[in-house]
Amino acid sequence: MVILWPTEDEESWIVSHRTAGGHAQPDFDPSVNASSPGRWSLVPSLTSLSTAKDYTIVTLIRTLRLPANQAIYPSSRTKYANLARAPGQRIIYAASSQRPPFDKESSTGLQMHDSKMHGSIKMDLSQSFIKNQTATLGGGDTETDIINQVEDSDVSWGGWTKVS
């Protein structure tokens, strides 16, 4: 699993890869580092750091299928960690309002997730989307691009449409 939390200095996020055998605090593997194959990597350009907004965004990227030489996940569980562009991609999630006590990947002392803030979902990664060239913006469409801090009103990109 991967656990994320914003740093106290508001300059980055901690991305901590861990494993757990049950209902216990997940353990950090000290052999995992920034260059470990198969790890989730932070996407800084799609991650917010400021407290000036009333929302927060954090984005990670990873290969769909884990490389053969990955050592982040136990080999016996690798098949569960792979993702595919297909329906039924199972994700287990949890969150807490209490930040870990240390800004390092190996931090211990994580508080348990908040009440009701955990669960399992299935996501459909077979859903196709196409760029809608003819989309017209207006009428209150005010998507905001946090990267450029401007409204995303570029008509050449238009909107997106789900392919049914």
């Binding site: 699993m1 991967v2 309002s97 691009d145």
Partner: protein, 87 residues
Amino acid sequence: MPSLNLLLSFALVPLLAHPVFTQSISSTTLAQHLLPASNATNLSSILGEQVDLNPFSLILLANETHVQATFNVSQPYDEVGWIAMVR
């Protein structure tokens, strides 16, 4: 009137109809980042879905080789504790 808000949001943002999402980052911006990660040359190669898990939503987008996960939290940065995802 929550139901009306939802309806309006869906009408304005066909892909990811979530009020918080529309206030924070555009779907186009999310997708454009993913394109260089493979040989994909257009947005039609990107697949994905969003789910709402109050207080955050999770957006997964995938191209041929990579998956991008975005957590969109309806709380300011300094109120976020930790978020975990098993994958």
